[in-house]
Symmetry: C2
Amino acid sequence: MIVKQGIILEELEEKLKVCFKDKELLKVALTHSSYANGKKNIKFNERLEFLGDSVLQLSISEYLFSKYTNKSEGELTKRRALIVCENSLHEIAKRWGIGRYIKMSKGEELTGGRERVSILADCVEAIIAAVYIDSGFQVAKEFVIDNFKDTIEKAIKNKIILDYKTKLQEVMQKNGDISIEYVLTKHEGPPHRRKFYTQVSVDDKVLGKGIGYSKKESEQNAAQEALKKMEEENE
Amino acid sequence: MIVKQGIILEELEEKLKVCFKDKELLKVALTHSSYANGKKNIKFNERLEFLGDSVLQLSISEYLFSKYTNKSEGELTKRRALIVCENSLHEIAKRWGIGRYIKMSKGEELTGGRERVSILADCVEAIIAAVYIDSGFQVAKEFVIDNFKDTIEKAIKNKIILDYKTKLQEVMQKNGDISIEYVLTKHEGPPHRRKFYTQVSVDDKVLGKGIGYSKKESEQNAAQEALKKMEEENE
């Protein structure tokens, strides 16, 4: 069992491109509070998340401050808010495929915990703190910038979209008034973990499909896919 | 003039217990945006303030994280919010006597800029950023902790009071129902820079006096003085 866990941690370290001197730190960063419930002496990642949030903030602040010397404080603050948010932490968590490495209670797992945005985002912050404690601020900062570089670039170019449905509406209406339709095509799974499937179309032409754990999420994902396809067609 | 400014900067550096390698950084940290208005190529402290806020956050977060290993994430967040706020930055600015070192427009100065809480607090954050850029995170962290240690101690002991009037009410009512009276005794100065003088009393006994740039501020200061006197009497 110990050997197996060792191998799993190594696998994740490769994805993170980080080798921890103190593996215990990574283990704690990967432990959700639900796993510690009712058990004694199990450390979980909430305190690390508290610290990681500040490490992330300073890393991004300094990067923006040094790189964009002509941008005002207001501009910098706006960009930082686009970069340091649950959404982008979630993106990074998905890229690392971190869900499968998190220790959580059976109950949490059964209700979709491995895909829950907040759990994944918090875990990324905890890992940032683990890198900071293990190797200091310089290394942590490089780790953050390396992982956030796509997000930073998008934020600078104003390409981060927070509401895909609104964005799709804006893009489509450039060609005159149109009516965009979102249709829930199916749902599956038990009530506490139901998956929703939505497709978005204009004039009966399907533009995109999306899946999510709420109708709203599936619609946003459908709109996002539609925008992505349109962008690819324009390239 | 250059010599004079050099001497003034040296004086402040002594108070801060910091010697800047790059004096220009300290100068920018001490320049309010109003001073740069309508002038070309004058750097002011808003961008530094953006960076300093994050340096401060991480310094305090790490200190709390390392020192209070038994406190939960929620507890740590609460304490940090008490420590990292305009109020405590203002306290530090007053301790340094920083108001007189700030470059600002005549207009700002005439309307009480040198005592304005937001200007003073922002300036402290800008100085923290200047230390960070000049000497790195380790030095900046030590600088922060050294200057915030009283505030941290109070926050940990739950001794930070945000509303002195309410606190005074609570303390006084331990001895049964009483009526606390705030009386505006005088005001002076032009309308845009009026100073208010208030005294607080119970049964015609004056407990404390306070001055402020609004009635509210003078009442809070009167209540604060009353609480301080009572504490000293109990010691």
